[in-house]
């Protein structure tokens, strides 16, 4: 391809931006004046490159961005890379052959990427670029137009957000641990060990559900991971494949759905371990689920929990925390349905949860409206 490229402009012709346009009628002159007005008013930097990666035009924003004037860049008579991109941020020299922008001499319009440029005064700054080829009448590529934005502030904002999320994770975990400690101190010697163990296990289930949320910055959680974490005997263990059969597609869950579902599964598991299929060595649990569309863009999760191989089941005489959470709260929280059946062959539970659209109140104001 390089052989087919023709120089966009000779060096002499390039000495003044768009000078070739000046040849000809006054209408061309008027066009040039308009183009210069547009280019020099643009807040984004625009570079026009020939097929040797020499810069033959840059607008005012590009001069401000790099610290170099167009005249200086033209006088250097070298690839733009050697002027604004010659050193890696760690100080090593950055030869043209390794340059992604150069290698990505765009065959396609609007190729995008991020790089770190060097200002004339020596400081590094991150940029986002969009590059498109310029073609001659025969569609040969004769140059490149590159649009460049300084993305320092975006990078800094992303870094601040990362730190804030780390701090949020830290505080939530700390608060859970603090609550656990307060409970331990408060009830020391006042309650049975068994009750304390139930409390600690519920705190751990809540904490596990939060671990899954942390992985996606609290935006959403993987359905599969929520189920796996809830059914694993402890944080460092895997789900026992001899006991559980998990089957269903993954999905992104709203944090509220993730937490309540994790707590519901924890209660089912605790019950199974105490009275149901998991209380005997040969008992098994099948957790199967599917997703289907309910209305525009929203999906519903249908999840089934089926125990078998356990001791004969008798309906409980008293409904506790678990059945209250699952059968009453969960349907109310998500406008869904939940039924627990105490069949003699094993407990089954069916959940229908319309999946809440991801997001939270005030999110648009915090993050700025997303492009449609």
């Amino acid at each position: 391809m390089p052989n087919s490229r023709q120089p966009l402009q000779s060096k002499a012709a390039a000495n003044t931006p768009l000078e070739s346009l000046r040849r000809g009628s006054g209408q061309l002159f008027e066009t040039e004046r308009r183009l210069n007005a547009v280019l020099n008013n643009a807040s984004v930097s625009i570079f026009l490159m020939d097929d040797r990666q020499h810069c033959i035009y840059m607008n005012r924003a590009a001069e401000t961005l790099t610290g170099w004037t167009l005249a200086e860049v033209l006088a250097r008579d070298c690839p733009l890379h050697d002027i604004v991109h010659h050193t890696y941020p760690d100080g090593r020299p950055f030869p043209l052959e390794e340059c992604a922008i150069d290698r990505a001499f765009p065959e396609n319009n609007q190729e995008r990427g991020e790089e770190v440029f060097v200002h004339r005064d020596g400081h590094f700054f991150p940029v986002g670029f969009t590059a498109s080829p310029i073609r001659d009448d025969a569609a040969n590529i004769i140059g490149t137009i590159i649009e460049v934005r300084d993305i320092s502030e975006e990078k800094a904002a992303a870094e601040r957000q990362r730190l804030l999320i780390n701090e949020l994770n830290h505080r939530v975990k700390n608060t859970l641990a603090t609550v656990q400690s307060i409970a331990a101190q408060t009830f020391r010697g006042q309650t049975e060990q068994a009750v304390r163990a139930v409390f600690d296990a519920r705190m751990a289930a809540l904490s596990n559900a939060h671990n899954v949320l942390v992985e996606d910055n609290w935006e959403s959680a993987s359905l599969f991971q929520v189920i796996e974490r809830a059914l694993a005997p402890h944080l460092l263990a895997e789900v026992d494949v001899n006991r559980f059969r998990l089957e269903g597609p993954d999905a992104r869950l709203h944090p509220k759905v993730a937490v309540t579902l994790a707590m519901a599964l924890h209660e089912l598991m605790t019950n199974a371990a105490k009275y149901g299929a998991l209380s005997v060595p040969e008992g098994q649990v099948a957790v199967t689920w599917s997703l289907h569309d309910v209305d525009e863009g929203r999906q519903q999760l249908d999840l089934s929990w089926e125990e078998r191989g356990g001791p004969a089941v008798a309906p409980p005489t008293r409904k506790g925390f678990g059945s209250r959470l699952i059968e009453r709260q969960l349907p109310m929280e998500f406008d869904g349905a939940a039924v627990i059946t105490y069949a003699p062959t094993g407990v089954t539970c069916r959940l229908e949860i319309p999946l809440t659209t991801l997001g939270w109140v005030g999110q648009e104001a915090v993050e700025g409206r997303r492009a449609p």
Partner: protein, 152 residues
């Protein structure tokens, strides 16, 4: 306790585990409790049933409970907000409403509810004392979310 005995209380709270706790506290105070965990359910309940009192969680995850507050203002039903943020977290026109600081505690809850029953309606900040006409219907008709504080 006696003043709250048998009172019908609407509890609007979007977190299952927290709703269970608040419900238990209200039941222990002798109240009859109706729970709404979603905004549309809360609005339906206020429109169709009569309540002596209401406890509103401010942040319902994907919405605020302010449209419910507007309806309660219109009906003259005393209510309080429950929030972790305190009074400063409320939007301007609602700052006259008593706030129960989360996490829920039985004693402050009882104290505030009793005071609401004997002391009457909370006032809107800078209001005339008369509740403004309810505009919640606009939400459903127009599709755009109506925010009372922007209009007043």
């Amino acid at each position: 306790m006696t003043v709250l005995l048998g009172r019908r209380v609407l509890l609007v709270e979007d977190e299952s585990l927290v709703a269970m706790l608040a419900e238990d506290m209200l039941l222990d105070l002798g109240c009859e409790v109706a729970i709404a965990m979603r905004l549309n359910r809360a609005i339906d309940l206020v429109r169709s049933e009569a309540f002596d009192l209401a406890v509103l969680d401010v942040n319902l995850g994907d919405a605020h409970s302010y449209p419910v507050a507007d309806l309660l203002f219109e009906r003259g039903t005393p209510f309080l907000f429950a929030t972790g943020y305190g009074q400063q977290g409320l939007e301007g026109t609602y700052r006259g409403v008593p706030v129960l600081q989360k996490p829920y505690q039985a004693e402050p809850l009882e104290h505030l509810l009793a005071r609401l029953l004997t002391g009457g309606m909370p006032l809107r900040e800078g209001g005339t004392g008369l509740p403004p006409p309810c505009r919640c219907q606009d939400t459903q008709a127009g599709g755009n979310r109506f925010r009372a504080d922007q209009v007043l």
